[in-house]
Symmetry: C2
Subunit: 353 residues, 2 copies
């Protein structure tokens, strides 16, 4: 097969982790006789610096034409202290999501046996955790009308959802649940919010189309608790944009393997794959960042977008092997385990594929 | 001193835990020569059953006239499967908060040395945790305009805040921080929400009035992570209603002592004290619920509303003693520790005051 992948390295450690994912992807392509064309494009703070906007039209064109987008991370400390500044890297992220129609963000949280002790949770709480959030990504309070009234003394944000938006997101949830343990949890705040009531009634009406899926409805505050208490009691969870933002981040730290968690954003056009960790500015250029979340995002891309299960499995297998053999970056090196450099981990993966 | 306390036992285990808090409060009053008049009133599902509404006017009158309100819990499973039903116990809660002007919900999370092993977190992560959330309770998306458009196909909720609302809440935060380690964290989503930008600019402008307080600004998703990773790195946190709902619940489980966490809601009229746990319907009438969160809520009431520090300290001391001596209800009895009944714990506290 031949594919074109838009390569959005972004800011901070983005370019370093992307680099290793490219090495591994190229090695896999070679091994299985595929041909990848990488098309680099600017986004984030580096795009602001270069052309004044965080998601340039040219980048969008490249993404639209590609078969998939592989994305690093964006964000730079110079924008951190003033979230009100007119041009910010995150706007690029939001614009990219909206323009690419990436309405579903798929975020698995799972554990690696060899890394369980990195979790802040006790072993017996976290063992066996394997859940997936599907977060709505192009609606809700992120994109609703917002502004000021009364000379700036009153601010407002509007959270809006249409039934169609809920349906297409929930469909992804039901479909994913069918391929797993057939358990789906719809997370909302239906005791307070009208949008949540629309979510709940829409999902309830879809239940009959998936009679095998057992659906539960839980309030977002209850899920925030149970994620810490019994994360392994969940399988697939669907939720709206803001709740998803909070809960997926909460879920990511419980595994103890935050630096390893991949994600996919899918929707109307090209799908995008990215590690869930951020741009980690302090580590920029030090060759110490953990590339595995990006490598595993590439595995998701092979499987979900290109339909290449064997290739994806090969990537996952070599990642597991690297962990078992202690070929790890410093974030995972507890006690006095040896820490490898970002590029050394990538080299090892390529050599052992 | 003489006080009148409105007693809102509510639903589920509410009456049982309230009963023990009354016993302990009466014993303290006797010991220190105070006179308490308790005025019971209906709220929640039991009020719906009795008079058709969850927060009757008569109850409101009683609360307004009282020196403080001691509240149990509300909620009944018969309302749980349909959060869209027109009359629901939670509406009573929201109406009570609004009509009593309870704009600040104060929720400490701390640990008891003897209970640390109940936490889902590892000992070294949770040890020393002692933080307080001040959650805004009468604004935001809870009370903004909400409804449907397009024949019910589109739902919306509006989150609104005024500068004055933020100021009065933040003032509580700064003042509390001054009595503690002088660290204040303002939790928002200023990279996305306009209301959050108003929160941030308002708090920033207040910093100069409290030069000793070190203020940090963190995004809600980052706080959801750090609460699990390093809960002991926080002291006082202020936040808006919905974020507070999610984060205070998350925080409550990390301590391993959820059944012991008290809370206060304060504002324009009478202050209200309540355990943070819910109505725990399955345990209703079994005399097994943990009364300590309600007893500790009474301690907060003695200290914060009546200004009686010594009395509050005496309650806290006897609670600590009961835990050390293993006079605990079944929720805390790990392994094969003996479990006491709700009323036995109350009796023991009274006998040992
Ligand atoms: C940077 C920010 C706008 C973004 C979000 O809130 O969606 C981030 O937190 C994320 O989850 O990708
Ligand atoms: C019952 C519900 C409306 C309420 C809230 O969301 O405020 C509860 O979760 C709480 O935190 O007291």
């Amino acid at each position: 097969m031949k594919f074109t992948i838009a390569l959005l390295a972004g800011d901070g450690i983005g370019p370093e982790v992307i680099n290793e994912a490219v090495k591994v992807s190229d090695a896999i392509a070679k091994k299985f006789n595929h041909e990848i064309t990488w098309t680099p494009a600017l986004t984030g703070a580096c795009a602001i610096d270069a052309v004044g906007v965080p998601y340039p039209d040219e980048t969008h064109e490249i993404c639209m034409k590609a078969d998939a987008v592989l994305f690093g991370a964006i964000g730079h400390p110079k924008y951190d202290n003033d979230p009100t500044s007119p041009v910010r890297p995150e706007q690029g992220l939001l614009l990219m999501r909206k323009k690419l129609g990436l309405f579903a963000n798929i975020r698995p949280t799972f554990t690696f046996p060899s890394l369980i002790d990195n979790s802040p949770l006790k072993r017996e709480r976290i063992e066996g955790t394997d859940l997936v959030f599907i977060r709505e990504l192009t609606g809700g309070i992120y994109f609703g009308e917002k502004g000021r009234k009364d000379d700036g003394e009153t601010a407002y944000d509007t959270c809006t959802y249409t039934r169609v938006e809920v349906q297409r997101l929930a469909k992804k949830g039901f479909e994913l649940a069918m391929t797993r343990t057939k358990k789906l949890c719809c997370v909302d705040k239906a005791n307070v919010m009208e949008t949540s009531r629309l979510w709940r009634e829409t999902v309830q009406a879809m239940e009959k189309d998936y009679p095998e899926v057992e659906v539960s409805y839980e309030f977002v505050d209850a899920v925030a608790m149970r994620l810490v208490q019994w994360p392994n009691s969940y399988d697939v969870l669907i939720t709206e944009n803001l709740f998803g933002d909070i809960l997926t981040d909460e879920a990511s730290v419980i595994s103890g393997s935050m630096g390893l968690m991949p994600s996919a954003s899918v929707g109307e056009h090209t799908s995008l794959y990215e590690p869930i960790h951020g741009s980690y500015p302090q580590a920029t250029g030090l060759n110490i960042a953990n590339p595995l979340a990006t490598v595993l995002s590439a595995a998701m891309m092979f499987e979900d977008t290109f339909g290449l299960k064997e290739e994806a499995a090969a990537i996952r297998a070599v990642v597991n092997k690297s962990l078992e053999q202690g070929i790890i970056t410093e974030d995972l090196a507890i006690k006095d385990a040896k820490a490898y450099k970002t590029s050394e981990v990538g080299d090892w993966l390529v050599a052992n594929l």
